[in-house]
Symmetry: C2
Amino acid sequence: MSFEQDQAYHKTFIDLAIDLASNNVRSNCGGPFGAVVVKDGNVIATGVNRVVVAHDPTAHAEIEAIRLACRALASFQLEGCDIYSSCEPCPMCMGAIYWARPRAVYYAATQADATDAGFDDSFIYRDMALVPEARKIKMVHMLHQGAGASFELWRVANRKVLY
Amino acid sequence: MSFEQDQAYHKTFIDLAIDLASNNVRSNCGGPFGAVVVKDGNVIATGVNRVVVAHDPTAHAEIEAIRLACRALASFQLEGCDIYSSCEPCPMCMGAIYWARPRAVYYAATQADATDAGFDDSFIYRDMALVPEARKIKMVHMLHQGAGASFELWRVANRKVLY
């Protein structure tokens, strides 16, 4: 595939992600974000922000698209898939991307654009980088003698599926 | 509430989170993780790792518990709630926690314990801290003249619900 064809290929899907984001605002369904999962040139799943309507703080466009794509593929991995997002993923979605292990992520707007629009995920990136005790949300490590119990069971489990 | 009562209060729920984690391994349902959402002394929701059985890379214990708790409260925020987790949350779950905005998070095992048990989320924390071009998963910022379109619509939207 030539560079030009390659650019046109990617543009098809990033256009779709941006359209999904815009239509989500127009239809008053949620935040201005959209995402698409593509495999071998085919759209496997799309997602839009549904946080408010679904009462679900995790219902970001990328998370929705990843969950639907994995369901469609009957797999907990997005092997050989690409994710196209209207905006650079937030820390939660970035974490989900690492666990889903797609081939690549393409995005249009940046973290800075999102912050300008009132979605301050740069705050989350900064706060997560601090030691737990210094974060805005109180985080407490409780010393507990049973803390390792489930990991011990996991180590000796016969039928576990690694993920 | 005295310090001792306070410790006993928290221990009740962290015990439950650890039991959920252990039982999840024993029953061969998924990874060794459990979480509990508590409000005013009542358990609102629990969650366990269901990544493999649900074909859902986002189905970590904390995400499951947050989603169920928000559904139970019919809210996209965990106002006044505490989250108890058998283990320090991974970056994805940490991001979800920032969006859900609980009062506090209590956890037993640490990130290092999880890494020792084969769940290397410290790799994700390290990789996310790099510039996008340097990350293990290919991440590409696509310059696109429509990148800001959905944000422009959001800025002038009348009926939007901020989240």
